[in-house]
Symmetry: D2
Subunit: 446 residues, 4 copies
């Protein structure tokens, strides 16, 4: 079984399967019917004591781990229904509040309107490994949500709890390098989501050379399992393409000669923590650690993919969007349909101004339903206070790069002095911070 296969297997079996294989959890106890488990959960909620609660919580989680997907869905439906709110209790509390509105009656109403599953989740979390299992449970729930949108109230409650438990103050940043234990490194291989790590030698090339760094966030309840990690390349200048940055044979730079730190890959590791944000804390903390280690660093920048650009561009090229593109541009872009265009110098030159215009519009003008930029990576970095610094039209000519962004990559600049201002302007007014070079690429309008 080679690393590529392993990584694929990992992806397909999910996190729980992986831990099973690693022997970190055991399929304890005998299988149980969903109804029995729901009774156990009622029981867990109705007793006040913690001592017996821990054992009962453990039983429930062990039984859950053996459920089939169908049984899980049944269990989620019980969470949404039976373990939802107690309407009688809400009505009474609402009435008491109406009669005498005060902090006290509001507090009681607040508690009365809390779905019972919240307390259930808190008690399940007391079992050894409880947090781990609840995070995995949410992975299942997210999958189930697609066909049962009504389960979203359950998901909201998990998000609320996880936001509290995975609070930034409880996270620990650790450097990942070639002296990191193998069982953690193999997760880096499996979790890398941006530029695939093919095998251990590829991994070594990301970690061992003097001009490479990698940092990850860990949480004490998910021992040795990273939440998110970022890969960094140290360079002289801001890079404009991913190929040379990752080339196997490149001569490494001495760290003290670097002036630029490039965050070229950021991967979330836990599907079950989707929507719980710690990415921007990681970037900020990593930038600070790097600056402390290497005071000569002046620029902190990403080299980022543009995952939705190709789709957006193709939509505009469709005949029914005639107004989206001037005819000349539309014709120039037909070159994209020629296989191998990216290696053809003439084609590249012809398309350069057209692609640049389109890219600038994609970032600066296109908006999704929430009035935010279309691109999810852009939303992440702009939301962190970064600035869109440069368009690199031919930054990723790999098949994946051509497929998802027609080769386009961009740099987001983290200017530590301006992060807060950019962030607030974006968060409060949707302002996209961009360099004047990017702005100038927008089409001129009469």
């Amino acid at each position: 079984m080679n690393v590529g296969m392993l990584s694929e297997l990992f992806a397909s079996i999910g996190e729980r399967g992986r831990r099973l294989i690693e022997g970190r959890i055991e399929l304890g106890g005998k299988p149980r019917r969903v109804e029995t488990v729901i009774e156990l959960a009622e029981d867990l909620l109705s007793h006040r004591g913690e001592a017996s609660g821990v054992a009962r919580a453990g039983e429930i989680l062990a039984a859950y781990a053996r459920f089939t997907q169908d049984e899980r869905t049944t269990f989620f439906e019980a969470l949404a229904g039976r373990f939802g709110v107690d309407h009688g209790r809400i009505e009474a509390a609402a009435e008491a509040y109406r009669l005498q509105p005060s902090e006290e009656t509001a507090q009681k109403l607040h508690l009365a309107a809390e779905p019972r599953r919240q307390e259930l989740f808190r008690r399940l979390n007391l079992a050894p490994g409880g947090t781990r299992t609840l995070v995995d449970m949410r992975t299942d729930l997210i999958a189930a949500l697609r066909s049962r949108p009504a389960l979203e109230t359950v998901d909201n409650d998990l998000v609320h709890l996880f936001s509290s438990w995975f609070n930034r103050g409880f996270l620990v940043v650790k450097r990942i390098d070639w002296t990191t234990p193998a069982h953690i490194l193999e997760k880096i291989i499996a979790y890398e989501a941006v530029h695939e790590i093919r095998d251990w030698d590829d991994l070594r090339r990301r970690l061992q050379p003097p001009d490479r760094r990698c940092f990850a966030f860990f949480h004490p309840a998910l021992v040795d399992d990273p939440l998110i990690f970022v890969e960094v390349a140290l360079t002289i200048d801001m890079p404009d393409a991913i190929g040379p940055l990752l080339a196997a044979e490149r001569p490494p730079l001495a760290a003290r000669e670097a002036r630029t730190a490039v965050f070229y890959s950021i991967s979330n590791c836990q599907t079950g923590l989707k929507g719980i944000s710690f990415g921007h804390f990681l970037i900020k903390q990593v930038a600070e650690e790097l600056k402390k280690e290497l005071p000569a660093l002046e620029t902190f920048v990403t080299l980022s993919p543009v995952p939705l650009f190709a789709g957006w561009l193709e939509a505009r090229r469709r005949p029914d969007h005639a107004e989206a593109l001037p005819e000349a541009d539309r014709r120039a872009l037909e070159l994209l349909d020629e296989p191998g265009w990216e290696a053809n110098d003439l084609a590249r030159r012809a398309m350069t101004p057209v692609l640049a215009r389109a890219a600038a519009q994609y970032f600066l003008e296109a908006r999704n339903g929430d009035g935010k930029p279309v691109d999810p990576v852009a939303r992440f970095h702009l939301g962190n206070g970064a600035r869109l610094e440069r368009l690199n039209l031919f930054g990723d000519l790999s098949p994946k790069g051509l497929r998802q962004s027609r080769g386009l990559m961009v740099n987001y600049l983290y200017d530590l002095e301006r992060i807060e201002k950019n962030h607030e302007a974006y968060a409060d007014a949707g302002v996209v911070a961009a360099s004047s070079a990017v702005r100038k690429a927008l089409p001129k309008r009469g």
Copy 2:
């Protein structure tokens, strides 16, 4: 400055002062008026972004640290009032719920009824050292509560958050011994609440001999500062007095010869975490670790103080409680008023049956307003599922022991097989688990 003075100083300056002295926090920034800080808090709540929030949260916490006690009270009152619930929002959500009661409208009502300070606390917690400062803030709040009971709603919110953050799954148990770093050991000296540790040599006697153990719980956000710790003596038999157990000159027992582990001191360390329970988890985990290290251990037992017994007994001896005690008992107990009675064999013999009767009643019959046993230590151990095993009438003849319990100590037995049953019977029905020997000490009734 000797250790005794240090420990006293520690007690008087509180946790924040200690950390200031240790250089672990700095009085950053300039002093600010409470009104300014309240504005900052409004600002923190009204912006959505995390990047700028962290800095603002840091400013608020730094300013709070410089507040006088009066300013703190003003700040707490703002938390109770201005940062309380939004009545308009509650009313609207209550009305929406009334029109269409569902999980969704209930969830919205739940959120609407949440006081604004909860979100404020969560955002303050993003600042570096935020958890630490919030725990300290609650220490101040508990002090302020005495004169301002209306602040209790604020306290409720902190308790709710801390219960989530200091969830058992995030705690780490560590052995404390003579190889533990000094800055942690000095906290053990300062925090020991049951049997004072006089100096470093006294500490060494609690940690270094082969028949001593000490374990503490730590939380990743309160680095190197224990939450609770338990001191253990390994013995052959269940001990009946604290003096010999702590004697400086006693010959130590080889650990492998021990059959009994005695939890003789359990100290909570963080006033700001009052009411957040982890004691019983610690005891259970320590019992398991000891059993693993020393499979020959058969008995897990405490040697515990009875802090309210003297007060309770004196109340019954008062003339206006004539019915509480038979005349003969009342007369026998007059010996307690003779100084030095505890060294007088005749006096001890005379009082033995009377004190035993009273002690049995104190534990088995006396109840507080909640229908629970009067004694707080008893409530803790019984609530954990332990059984009251033995009354040791002359277990602590130190001045403190005579003053608070007329010498009485007791053993609570942790029978790992019966913990859950005892616990449930106590939690659900108030049943006090006690050995037949203790039960027999109750007065016979016609």
Copy 3:
């Protein structure tokens, strides 16, 4: 570059090359002529002070690292000649001893007869990384010895020093498992000398399953670079073949069910430490650690290759050794020349008694020039006090196994109670400890 290639590359470039690649040493300074370096060495020896010595030692070692192989040989010859003994000094000391033989004059003679290079080596060892470079220097010297046997006096001095520096008391045993840092694990892959580790997945199969263990010795001056390691399989019974033991798909055994610990691979890692023995310390210590972790283990045994058996057997089959084998045996062994014999049941049955006889003679009767058994692995284990327990005629049917031992493997039994007795009988009288089953396999003689 896959792992197999990496491992080959490692083997070919030697230890120094590897460390260069890993960036652990730098080719400091400019190249220097051998004569200059020899002058530096003279200088280092002639000054008494340590402060300047450290810098000078560092210069010499850095220059040595840049030497070509020829320059190294020239340098070794200077060590053998110029930095040899001072004959005048010896003669004077010998004369003084002759006139007055005493402890004092003997001590002076002892010092006078010490070659100057010994003190040179001690001073070189003061440079940072000095031990590492001296160990590498001996690797070069061992290579050079083949063509220049006169350098052996230099080698003797290095052996003397290394025996002292790599004293067992300074070694640390560490468990190697899947949580070990990758830069150490990759050395395990590269150094494995008995049963090749093909890639990281193969490595994982040796480390991660619950019935596998691996331990290595480390020295503080060779940080993170193991000296020797042993791989262990936990089994129910003593195994008779390597194939099933290493099979990728075998179901692992729960550690607590194991009764036997099998040392199936022992690899020395540092060519430069050849002849410095720590193998038997490692085996003894590992046996003790395993017994402590798993008290149910009853048997400690190897599954060992027999590297010289095929060569020895073929020599006996040659026509000019007519007396070595009875004609019937000789004929039976002709089956060995048929490709695929090992899969032919009839052939195996026919040869079984013949091979068993030969193997018993190989171990019990054949002797090398020193009167010791011919087999180097046998000398190692018998020297440690182990007993030759069982012949496994078809224990290794891999191409390598067939080539070097015609499939033969053996078990050496480490009976902790008898190790010392076996060892002394072997060391003092050359007695080969063997089970009665092995002894019975010897040919009956009239």
Copy 4:
């Protein structure tokens, strides 16, 4: 038992006693007669095998630990005599060398002239804890040497072995601070030899403030027991008195404001390693680590005692040394006999030039039998390449300071650029590096 008492007890019972108390060694086995132990040692030497040797070495060392002081002396005498050289073997080897002088015959002569105890020590060192016991054995031997100078040959052999085993390359420098384990800190208290540490609070004042540092050397075979440590104060300027530097109430300096690192106390910890030098390595390495942590540091300097100055000065004041001091000086120095002179401003002013002259002569002109400066601290620092920078006539007005040096302290400057040159000039030609200010203090001569 307070810390002062503990420290005294430590000093009186010696290292072995301390480890006994700490339970780190056990008095294993039964007591044995010296003759039996000598037989065991003969046995250990005569067998070649290591497996049985380890056990036998352990027996010998355990028996030694139970010896009385008299038995130890008997054992040392056996080491000096019976385990000395083999005269017959020397004579044969000397004859062989005479007939054919070569590297080979010299090597054999070298080995033949080695006393048998050297090999004995090497084999004893294989036992667990062997190095520790051998170091302790030398402590006993040094004590015995006073009455039996003939044992010096034994001591020479131990020094030879220890120099090899405690080679700088095997030492690890560790920072000691308030987070260091207590069992190590208590050794710092016990070992501090220059400025006594009175108790744990005094220790904390040396370790915890931001302007204090402490570093120690450790060896892997003496786990957790430091070999030598140095205490450092960070200051603005070069200090001229110890009192203010150690004052309990002084306000600490922020580390980043420091320009000077003051090595104010260097303590050797292991009597058994007397004469094995690592002090100058420690100072150099500490200076480098400090420079790395605090690049603003410009000056590395000691504040050192002058332990023999009072004795030397008093000898010159004796009437029979009339020529040593001009009459005026002699009279001025009579003020030293007035109690309290050091607090009398007039007296200090009167004596200043006289004391300065005497101090300059003490350092620059006085010589011991080996032609080296009289002062042992001076020999240590000058030998390391430091320069005598300043005389501080009233640097230590404590009773101890007045008693041993009439208040005099000095600064030795470690100028990293000049260390090597100073060191060589001192080592090769006895040149004392001194600032011009010190030189100018010498009496003017016609």
